[in-house]
Symmetry: C2
Subunit: 339 residues, 2 copies
Amino acid sequence: MPTSKDVAAAAGVSQSTVSYVMSGKRPISEKTRKKVEAAIEQLTYQPNAGARALASRRTNVLGLVIPLTPDAHVGSLSEFIAVIAATARQHDRDILLVTDEEGTEGLQRVVGQQLCDGLILMQVEADDDRIPVVRKLRVPVVFIGIPNEAEGLSCIDADFALAGRQCIEEFAAAGHQGATVIGWRPESGDRKLNFVDRFLGGAFEQAEASGLALSHVSGSADIASIEAAVDGGIAAADGPPAFASPEEPVLEMLPRILLDRGLKPGVDVSIIGVGTQTKSLGERLRLTTIDLEPRTVSRRAVELLCNFLKDGDGGQRQHLELIPPVVTQRDSTIPSPTH
Amino acid sequence: MPTSKDVAAAAGVSQSTVSYVMSGKRPISEKTRKKVEAAIEQLTYQPNAGARALASRRTNVLGLVIPLTPDAHVGSLSEFIAVIAATARQHDRDILLVTDEEGTEGLQRVVGQQLCDGLILMQVEADDDRIPVVRKLRVPVVFIGIPNEAEGLSCIDADFALAGRQCIEEFAAAGHQGATVIGWRPESGDRKLNFVDRFLGGAFEQAEASGLALSHVSGSADIASIEAAVDGGIAAADGPPAFASPEEPVLEMLPRILLDRGLKPGVDVSIIGVGTQTKSLGERLRLTTIDLEPRTVSRRAVELLCNFLKDGDGGQRQHLELIPPVVTQRDSTIPSPTH
DNA sequence: GCATATCGTCGATGCGTATCGATGAACAGT
DNA sequence: ACTGTTCATCGATACGCATCGACGATATGC
């Protein structure tokens, strides 16, 4: 492996000049820069990350804390991870993986060993144990998810409350008097993740504002329970029924189940799919969808962290950013009567 | 941040003694070890990773190359990643993420900058561009997936061929004369990943050996095409039909579709689910499954790489390891008549 | 013409650790 | 008591880079 010393020798300059050519922190004449760059090219020189970290006190690495729990491994998680890694590269940084299996010691470890300059925490719970630890860390941290006590923290997430409101707005615009949300069973684990409450909160709030009767039934993957939920929704409806769900299996079967009951989606009944990967599903089933834009959330998390690092102070500032979901109207919602 | 010098001062020894206490590479008396350990504890000392990498020429970090392409983001990918990260920690190593968006230059970069001591490549294609680059790298590399030219490389994957054989064996034992595999549409992208061919190769081979008529139809997510495939399978069957599929949506609907036709799984027809996350699906639908054990594949990949690194020579050896799939008999296959 | 500012480069130093050679102490054998 | 060992520890050095102060060479002011 060639070193910057080798490059210096090849270019006939001093090692420090090579360093300044690479960093641009001091002016270098066109002539010597060319020489140095040629030497770098020829030797295929790449700076040693360890030495660089040691001397500059920055690693250019971001720690990403991911959940290890298998039940959380929905498809979107890997998309989050990949987008975060790709965005980090655009800012000339790399991603070090930390699983939450290590717990809070893992955070202290990667920061203490100076393996990374900052952290991104995924799957942040409403009352996350890691928050008190994070507050003491000397590096900036960005949360993906909104804990209850977000004071002084930097948090980014999809705007679930807005998604709930948008959902009801769509139904109201289509002339529905009532709607049913199927899914997000309030299991023990789900209670910790408050996005369910945020979505339902927004939905119920908007339902009240729009004078629309909203009910929520916890979905389940088996067909019978979905059918029961659908029948309940139809019976309760005062006019054409409307259904929304954030669960893919539910959405997959909903059109079929409704057609079996003589209800054509987009004509006699409305369906809205909510989720993180709604595009392919929505296009295939021609479903109106509300996408939570996980790629944008991921990208912004990295950008925010990089901004904190660029400012140099290393301290984390309070920041709350909610990414607006994207509504895509397709054929599963009844057209607005006003049009 | 305290340094090993601070620890040395607090313990009243030299810095090198602290280093030897931590590495154990030279004998240290019980007394001084206790003193040093106490000082480490009290100062919450953690060695600086950059300095350590610089001095020891090892980073204790493994690079993990993941696909960025969204269509590959099935749920199992994040499970792979998390298991790899957790296993790496058990070997006192961390994981640096590299997306294949960077291409082969990404590999050369992380190795050239000495950000990691070795690499794990996921989603290896039959004729992967990265192979010639990997051969020139000076660090050990483990492939997850089996390329066509595996000479001199270290590869690990699920044994898809065995899964195919096991599948047919199950059907044959249940007394079936024929079977249909639904799924794995041979699209452009899928051709590069040869596991489809490996599975089907094993299945057809075993079908011939067992005198069983096997056909394969590319599945699709919409219900109509699945129903068509099912009807085809029923019509072609000489005796009770049998179906296998590696696609979750197909498996989700298969029992329902068959019941609609008056065929009860496990009595009039057999179903086998093949995949990387078959447990919850299999238990819910009471499906006999063949699981490809992604967790084992991931774990073994890390262990293999760590072994290469432990041996010190840094060279990669040829190695081919196929993880046997696990057959779990539940209620969707017709009981063997011989029992 | 000299004093002063600006530019481009060099040498020296430090970052925190691992590791090698050396040193001194304790100890066994004669 | 003297040499030869083994054991525990220390001091010095190197790892590769960033960065600071210094210095010579030009350019700018009057």
